[in-house]
Symmetry: C2
Subunit: 240 residues, 2 copies
């Protein structure tokens, strides 16, 4: 893991960009004592520099003392896109514009993303946990599909916050039963791209004994800011 830039922000948070092999990432920390770590798994098409993700990460570091890390998944953010990626995106745009079913396109798109992203998170976690300012325990917050895979594979994940805002492959809907860590599941009630009943069924399927659903009015990008605080308090209950 190589740090490629370092910047002290006006909220006192230290923001460092890093690379780990091909994986580019950012780490936000607010102190030198070993802090619990939150892996911030942004949604499918977004960049690790997406403004809402950065705002939440800085808030979690500045106000709650967490270390927060984000990486760009293969084909996302700063990473090159393959011809296959580009074709799947074009297919998706065309199908959505035509009002055609998109489940199979999402399936073809998200399955390989999940398969690649989960091991990359594990490698990133190995590297991050060698830093003296990161002490664990570890939480994951963000994209549901990758988070399910990671929570099933990775015993160091102690709690997870999932955003029911993206396509979850059939394999991960099945795997949900194997997720047993405490869970905060966030749902936008009017998210046009994500059928509400499917999200409620997924919440029901998780194997966790402690799981909480938060639903708010509005579309995909309308999650109210107070949910960032609720998420941080959820982690405060489980990452101590």
């Amino acid at each position: 893991m190589h740090f490629t830039s370092e910047q002290r922000l006006d909220d006192g948070v230290l923001e460092r960009e890093f690379t780990l092999g091909e994986i580019p990432g950012i780490l936000w920390t607010s102190g030198s004592a070993p802090a619990p770590l939150i892996l911030s798994g942004h949604n499918g098409g977004l960049h690790k520099r997406e403004p809402r993700l950065v705002a939440r990460a800085r808030h979690a570091a500045a106000q709650y003392g967490y270390a927060v890390a984000a990486i760009d998944h293969p084909g996302h953010g700063d990473r090159p896109r393959s011809a296959v990626d580009e074709r799947a995106r074009a297919d998706l745009r065309r199908a959505m514009a035509a009002g055609e079913p998109v489940d199979e396109i999402f399936e073809s798109f998200v399955v390989p993303l999940v398969e690649k992203a989960a091991p990359e998170w594990r490698a990133t976690l190995d590297a991050l946990l060698t830093l003296p300012e990161i002490g664990g325990p570890v939480g994951y917050a963000g994209m549901t599909a990758v988070g399910i895979r990671l929570a099933v594979l990775e015993p160091r994940i102690a709690a997870a916050g999932f955003f029911a805002g993206g396509y979850v492959p059939r394999a991960q809907r099945e795997e949900a039963r194997q997720v047993t860590v405490p869970l905060l599941f966030l749902l936008q009630w009017d998210d046009a791209g994500n059928p509400r009943q499917r999200a409620l069924d997924l919440f029901d399927a998780f194997g966790s004994k402690e799981k909480t659903l938060h639903a708010n009015l509005g579309g995909h990008a309308g999650t109210p800011w107070f949910e960032a605080d609720d998420g941080n308090r959820f982690f405060a209950r489980h990452l101590k």
Copy 2:
């Protein structure tokens, strides 16, 4: 309004019992400066001294500085039960034991409760707001059926937390569209007596532009304690 007892508790909260005509109630306060008021509407069959209700009220007063009031509704707690009340309760027990449908019994039972309780809350509110240590604004937290009626009738209610844990009459399910205050709707995912889909439909029906659903695993009495804090923070956003 007559205060009939006064006790300073070990958390510093002043607990005063009062009567207002036939209505017995309790007021919890933690200071002398005008505080926002929360009307704590406990569930149908419970007493204003129900331990979880008292614990939540004291916590809201001690930790958040709210004034909190609870009253016994007609036929509940310290108040006499009519022969009609007793018969409805007996019918309900018999039907539940026999596994028979209970909606019509609940309807016969809860409709008059709601009709009587909402004006009693308004009279209690009139009296409480004359006290110098209560400044408003006012929130309601508790039983959904009474809360819907009160939120529709009473413009001084600025925010409401409803527990989807009891029967809501057809009239209040219709009235839900007229509820427009910010809303926190609490649901127990496995509440045997309260069909989940009916609660989700009710959440959907509320007219409020800002409404949040919190659902937790477990049965009717299994609401985790952290929801008390979440409720207090919800009110902190809306009662300032």
